[in-house]
Symmetry: none
Subunit: 459 residues, 2 copies
Amino acid sequence: MAALDDVLNRVDGQLDASVERLFAFLRIPSISTDPAFAAQCRLAAESAAATLGELGLSASVRETAGHPAVIGRTDTGAARRVLFYGHYDVQPVDPLDLWETPPFEPVLATDASGRARIVGRGACDDKGQVFTFLEALRAHRDVAGRLPVDVTVLLEGEEECGSPSLPAFLAAHAGELAADVALVCDTGMWDRDTPAITTALRGIVHCELTVSGADRDLHSGLFGGAARNPTHVLAGIIADLHDAAGRVTIPGFYDAVREPPEAVRRQWAGLGFTAESFLGPVGLAISAGEADRMLIEQIQSRPTAEVNGMYGGYTGQGSKTIIPASATAKISFRLVADQDPAAIKSAFADFVAARVPADCKVQLSFGEGSRAVLVPPESPDLAKAAGALEAEWGRAPVEIGSGGSIPIVGQFKAVLGMDTLLIGFGLDDDRVHSPNEKYDMASFRKGTRSWVRILDALA
Amino acid sequence: MAALDDVLNRVDGQLDASVERLFAFLRIPSISTDPAFAAQCRLAAESAAATLGELGLSASVRETAGHPAVIGRTDTGAARRVLFYGHYDVQPVDPLDLWETPPFEPVLATDASGRARIVGRGACDDKGQVFTFLEALRAHRDVAGRLPVDVTVLLEGEEECGSPSLPAFLAAHAGELAADVALVCDTGMWDRDTPAITTALRGIVHCELTVSGADRDLHSGLFGGAARNPTHVLAGIIADLHDAAGRVTIPGFYDAVREPPEAVRRQWAGLGFTAESFLGPVGLAISAGEADRMLIEQIQSRPTAEVNGMYGGYTGQGSKTIIPASATAKISFRLVADQDPAAIKSAFADFVAARVPADCKVQLSFGEGSRAVLVPPESPDLAKAAGALEAEWGRAPVEIGSGGSIPIVGQFKAVLGMDTLLIGFGLDDDRVHSPNEKYDMASFRKGTRSWVRILDALA
């Protein structure tokens, strides 16, 4: 263990330099969903490839149909190879006026409890988390001159907009990306003191729905009371999505849903996970989910239907007395095992069609979608990683399900035949996707140390 | 009638000169909503005051808190006085590229049926309509040296941006503006061959409703299924506004609604007003209104609740997996007699409050609002004007309600104690507020002749 301690000490000794390197990466506004930032996405890819090169990986930017990906790898003939996946793209920053510091000018701040934090877009999701892994590689290499295992790093630039190019990219580079196990650092801790390994992820289906009525905006005085208002039609569809008990009403929506094993449900029931503790910190008090399900079920083992955005008609200052010509909603469904994205798309299309008057038009477009993923609890690598995390944090990690969706995990299994260990150091209050995103310095430091230990354990 | 025929002949004889005078007025780009055109608005006011002076009125430009108004009057000691109201301001012209001729370079054109038309911004609304009245004054004066009644003309310059300065201006000049009856030329014909007197206008209440949930946008994967989504809450409120039969469900909403007299309903039933004829031209086919009401009732004698705009969450390109922190709708209610704006506001506030979960917040703000206006069917001036219109057009005018709202009419009643006769010569295809606005030469000529007869009849 002497060598391992040296590597861990190296992490602590170069922490300031590690943060500086992360800051340089955070300064690149790599917002993948907005085409205006395409050049910045490429810049982030080039920066990541350069960092991998510094770490001794043979690395390059690779073209995709969308934003480029980065692949780096060592080929030392080690007994085992891990594939690390992360993403260099970040969420949009609006509403910008709610940021206390500019989103792409990362800063170190201290919270009321004296805890240091890194603040900026991507500080956690996923640039900060990716850097815990890269800095762990750096520490191993600095101390030992080599890594305990061979490593392939895959960074994509479209995770925040649904990874549209990734399936084809994975298939085209399957040989180059093959490994014994995949590691992903894009998830969270159980709480500030307790690490977690995420062994279940919800899948996702994105869609955009536009209802159109008249061929122009109409004067609401002259036509009001007779002309169909597409905002009313869209509101009706959205309102119908859930019944009064919080259940999604799309016919067949729950048909393929698998219930968690009774043992898991019992473990969950014992966690004391309440609306006060989970929703209180974001200003809510009452669960809006299925009334007959525990809160933890609602966010982990149950599927959802959520409007992510909607608009129609006049949205500027003051009033404009029109009946809008159209109204649009962006809706996403979170899926659990064994829901099939294609079946959900079809069921929702039927649901919409049944609610649109004959003289209105509907445009409904879907993203590709992904199934939910479950990691087998008997995996030996899962046990090794759990041991490494316990050594770092002094507590055994909790195996949790995540309500989020990381479609690539299903593709690693389907295309590359690998299981994935989802280990991340985010906290519930990190404001991921929101203004003032942050990553605790403790997450960054002990996350890096955790990867040092996990790489050692997996060797 | 010899003298009246002389005046009518004078209208016809000087028609070309009348059109030239209107063209000069149309060339002034008096767009009131855009501060860049403030000087042009003043120029239009000065031009109108000069025209009134030519006609023998004592006229001047009057300051308001916004664009100036114009008042002109004769004081010959005639037995009766009419107040004529119109506006010199016009709508913006965007999208400019859809105009076939420059909006402020009026032209005479001929349509496929050989009908002459005046084309340009304001050709109908309201400069062309105002000029029918002014040219009628001119013809009377040219032939008889005097007008049959004393006349006060009030032209405002803020009608297209909500007349914000007018209520205070009316109150401040109440004595100067007092008259026996008000005349407004800002409405339309029933059809090309049938004149109309608008005897009912709907009132209006504007509001803006924001529902807020969590204190930030939430990750829809991590919180989806448990956290309240304000877009769902808002959609529920909007969807609940109408029942399946198109009726507004707000308790008490219809309590004060007055039914039209049976004779009026019978007249309406005979008009052959259909969804195909009314909604077909804008691309719709099915009425969305109250199923047990005639279409003409839906837009004239029934109140409405319409969303004019709504937004919440992510509305940019692509997708963003959030549960929005808030959602907003701009909603307006069109009121009919005897609905009270204050009662409608209160009923809607209760309706909203009943549909918002305890841990969500509501912001609900209302504009001042205006009551509906009805001209008493027994008004002698109404009968006189109707007779004059029948003499000109060879058909009795239809008494119609307008779904729109002209708040000044309520103010004439409330502040000045006058009823208003709304008589205009616009046609449904005049493209008011749209590119290529036009006014038929027949509307201009016979409109002018109509005012000649009405002034004579009111004497």
